[in-house]
Symmetry: D3
Subunit: 142 residues, 6 copies
């Protein structure tokens, strides 16, 4: 049984790679290379799986899932400038690919801290940059 819950956050980023020349950056990223950045309403969907607890009928209480996602992801990412506010993106281009991998690492770490090797497993995350683009990471055990 898999439970998925969606969370929204807004952030800005600039796509610019230190390993490419300015001209290559402009050609590759186009408008996304604009020096002052641009932004998105990201939608994050977190999926966990496990059996329902026979006492509560729930895989995991919603408030516990919310607390992990708030702490591990939203507190730092909501209304942030990814390039400026997050040290992880000092040398890494904040494409939504890299953002998805970053969120997956953060969530797996917090999930492990909070739920250990319990029966409920973090299974995958999916992030939508726009309604037309999405990125999915299937989590593997730490």
């Amino acid at each position: 049984l898999r439970l998925s819950k969606r969370f929204a956050f807004s952030a800005s980023h600039r796509l610019h790679s230190g390993r490419l020349s300015d001209q290559e950056n402009r050609r590759l990223f186009g408008k996304c290379n604009n020096p002052f950045g641009h932004g998105h309403n990201y939608v994050l969907e977190v999926s966990v799986s496990g059996p329902p607890d026979p006492r509560t009928g729930m895989v995991v209480p919603r408030s516990q899932l919310d607390a992990v996602v708030e702490h591990a992801v939203l507190a730092d990412l909501d209304h942030a400038n990814l390039n400026q506010d997050l040290p992880e993106f000092n040398n890494v281009v904040p494409t939504t690919e890299n953002l998805a991998l970053f969120i997956d690492r953060r969530l797996r770490h917090s999930w492990q801290e909070r739920f250990g090797n319990g029966p409920v497993r973090l299974e995958k995350i999916r992030i939508e940059e726009t309604p037309r683009n999405s990125f999915e990471v299937v989590s593997e055990p730490t």
Copy 2:
């Protein structure tokens, strides 16, 4: 080749577990423990897989899929109070987790009756409680 079709139904429920004290119920389920219940527009997505029939070009005629879902699920769940109208939820909390497992059992049973061991297999169901929450059960053969 997997075909998925979405169905909508409206129902009400109250989350309250007989294995917990009243106080524990209130703490765990919050507003969902309201004695008179509340409700949702549920969306059910049923996925079946198999090869297209070479004569018709279809995995399964839509009307046959609709008939199974109507008979096995919608007839009893649409505009129902899950706690009161369904004996299955007399001693089981009607969380959407348990509702998903109930729908999966019902559909697998009807599918087996109607299509036996034919080439088209019921693969999974997914139910959205709200646009932010969804629950998925991958069906296993009876």
Copy 3:
């Protein structure tokens, strides 16, 4: 300049009119007459209009709009059984038409209390019962 904001709440109701016989109720309301009720994820859109404040650039701070809607509407309606939890629907059928009029009265009253005859006016509310049905009330000054 009109600002509209959407809010979600879940509630249950039973459509049954004391002015009609049981048979007429069943014929008119069909499944919605089920004695134990059913439910919906309602979406409420509140529209207010006025000029942006030159200091803040906003028609109204979001937190003030949220507070009025929370106090006047969501606190009582979210996760409620309309028939049982709200005295207003003891003798009034809780169709979404009547629910819309109820919300409009409540909001107009709270808006007047909070903003008086200020430049920002409550303009209309729209409520969706399902993605296929919606109901709109254009507010008139108290």
Copy 4:
């Protein structure tokens, strides 16, 4: 007969008013006051009205409407940082209220240039900052 067409663009902004102290800015705008900005996928809906041309059956050829919106709005706003890339927002807080008024002025000007006092009128614009917030400006003749 009113024709409405939707356009998407991504941009970033920071909400900070020069007429308020830093503390007032933080209290009023909260996370939206983050110095490095954040961003959104904005959706712009442009509505024009008039009779269909009897030869073409259209109020306005789609390509002409697209060209006006591209030229007047999207060319400057898509993938922009509103505060940095647009002189209009040097002294004006780029709330979506002010952004809506800016887009309305730009579009009315371009529409007048392109279509003059022809039978097709720019009627209103609506901009969604997120799926939960929208802002509408009813255009008045220049």
Copy 5:
């Protein structure tokens, strides 16, 4: 109090005007001029307004509204080829503008037949050709 209900139908059309040369048709309509036609999932939203009936709490019973729309619109338009199946489009280009005017005429006529000068008025129709395009006709009394 305004009630709006949405209906879906699928149809195909070819945009080609008998008053234009083949070359002008191709230039004006582009791919929509393809001789064999193409199609859309149209969404029709019908809005009616009036006071709720004090006995039923409804502006109009849903089944009566459905019956008028089914009879006046869906029976002929769903799964139709607009150019071939509807005499009205023999000499009129089936743009969604003209389709909206056609649906409005049909609905007003059926509404008048069914409800006469009763308190509930057909107010407007809106038709979406795609999620990005919509067309609205405000109905006037016959």
Copy 6:
């Protein structure tokens, strides 16, 4: 890491099988057997997977993915009549099942031509015929 991107196209089709009698066709396909055809706004979601390129942070530049889908699918299918414009559907019923298999073959072929045995793999396609129906094909290596 899986990247999915959505593309829209409009097309028309008629469901009619040469292996069935006219009566069987009408019974099986109902309104979809209408001789003049009907149409849909199809939504195609293409999913590819692989590691992000360390220099660009992207699994694949968006413009390269767009170019493959445009060339292999949209150029021939957008605004087409599937039965008339595509030789593949002369003897094959253009159900969305068969359309999905056709798109999968075309895309796999173009992907192989463009990216060979590189690290990024075409993983699956999903096509929505309407918001209620979708069809998914998991790609296998050529």
